[in-house]
């Protein structure tokens, strides 16, 4: 299986690659359009800031390519946020694959939301064999609102989308590559879609 991990100026690409290698898949870390287009699966990772990440993927044409992809695509963390319509982080227009907005957590509790939290109301292929209430690892200050695309929810300060799906586009706010056995199963599920 050919798995492409999109390379851009974001932080967790290395750990996503290592997690895939633990599952026996050696991904191509690339921003080459043809390689991405011809991959069986595409992963769009990311830890970083929304506006500079958008600027970066606009400059290399990934912003145009990504919404056109037909194979399963998995956004992770900032990847999920960039796949939404808009992010409050520096007032950024994003890709609009999911027609929903990304907001900053109100500061009623510690922000970022950091650590292990539960996912519930799980829907679809990504969560096969994953029990409701399983713990996954989060680090983020912005969240995607609940919407028709929500396929997993988590509560911190308020309920938000832990995962989104529309057609071949999947995205998770948490880090499956750092979420122990549960995260490994979610990545495996994605590879088997």
């Amino acid at each position: 299986m050919k798995v492409a991990v999109i390379k851009y100026n974001a932080g967790n690409i290395h750990s996503v690659r290592l997690a895939l290698q633990r599952l026996g898949v050696d991904p191509l870390v690339t921003n080459d359009h043809e390689t991405i287009r011809s991959a069986d699966k595409v992963i769009f990772p990311g830890v970083g800031e929304a506006s500079s990440a958008m600027e970066n993927i606009r400059a290399n044409g990934i912003a145009e390519l990504l919404p056109q992809l037909k194979q399963p695509v998995l956004g992770i963390c900032l990847g999920l946020q960039l796949m939404c319509r808009y992010s409050e982080e520096n007032d950024t227009e994003c890709l609009g694959i999911f027609d929903t907005a990304v907001r900053r957590f109100p500061p009623q509790e510690k922000v970022p939301h950091m650590g292990w939290n539960t996912i519930d109301s799980l829907k679809g292929d990504l969560f096969s064999d994953i029990a409701s209430g399983s713990y996954v690892y989060f680090v983020h200050s912005y969240y995607a609102e609940l919407s028709e695309y929500t396929v997993a929810t988590t509560s911190y300060i308020l309920p938000f989308s832990a995962a989104l799906q529309k057609d071949n586009f999947y995205a998770v706010q948490f880090h499956p590559e750092k979420s122990g056995m549960v995260g490994e199963q979610i990545l495996r599920n994605f590879l088997e879609i």
């Binding site: 750990s15 633990r22 292990w116």
Partner: protein, 251 residues
């Protein structure tokens, strides 16, 4: 609900873990990679590896070790010990660490915290604070707790938050190694007043000490070394125990 985290800390010297460990099914008890994986399997939420290698030349060994740990571990891990500048941090993050921890270097050059937060993001900057209760109140110690400073612990904690620290790891020099429990007062004060997570460290001797540090100390995470390494407290038992007190933990 966001779970309270249990974090074993492993001291590493010349690429080997220092304290003795009673684990079954470990091929090499001194191998930090094997040990880390065993802890992850037991249900540790995160791990910290501290390099206590004395010589600068051997520090390269540690970056190489961090790479091996990153390949193996499927949970987040923090590394620290001897970090002096942003290039040291870049090397460790590139090797696959999720977060780094700085202590003396931050006290010596507080602007380093800002520099690291700007370059790598606050989420990976853990500032370790060694605190001791003295006649002058709670003050910061450096050099592994050997050297006192003029800094008040609460002022320094607030300053590192303002400079962009993502978490604070608070070690009480009065409690560390005593097994008499965590420093609940200062932990609670910082955990309740700061907008970032506080990891309590120093003094863990029993499961009840963990109950106290979460219930009374309001800590977001608790770190311990020897009680885990010597098998005095097993993480699955500890987590079941905490759940009986309605403390949210990942099981």
């Amino acid at each position: 609900m966001l779970a309270k985290r249990i974090i074993p800390c492993l001291d590493v010297r010349d690429g080997q873990t220092v304290k003795g460990v009673n684990f079954i099914n470990i091929r090499q008890a001194g191998d930090p990679v094997e040990l880390g994986a065993a802890y992850a399997e037991q249900g540790a939420d995160e791990l910290i590896f501290l390099d206590i290698t004395a010589s600068v030349e051997k520090r390269a060994t540690f970056a190489w070790l961090v790479e091996k740990i990153a390949r193996k571990l499927n949970i987040p891990f923090t590394v620290g010990g001897g970090i002096r500048n942003a290039d040291d941090v870049a090397r460790l993050l590139d090797a696959g660490a999720d977060k780094i921890t700085i202590n003396t270097a931050a006290v010596r050059q507080p602007e380093l915290v800002e520099k690291l937060a700007a370059r790598f993001g606050s989420q990976c900057v853990v500032v370790a604070i060694d605190t001791k209760n003295t006649a002058k109140g709670d003050v910061v110690y450096i050099h592994g707790g050997r050297t006192p400073t003029e800094q008040k612990t609460r002022d320094w904690a607030r300053e590192v938050v303002e400079r962009g620290a993502g978490e604070i790891m608070l070690t009480s020099m009065d409690h560390d190694g005593t097994k008499n429990g965590f420093a609940l007062g200062i932990t609670c004060e910082l955990a309740e007043s700061l907008p970032i997570p506080v990891i309590a460290s120093g003094g863990a001797g029993s499961k009840d000490h963990f109950v106290d540090v979460f219930k009374k100390g309001k800590a977001d995470a608790a770190l311990a070394a020897s009680v885990f390494h010597f098998g005095e407290i097993l993480i699955p038992n500890l987590k079941r125990y905490l759940r009986q007190f309605e403390i949210e933990v990942r099981v």
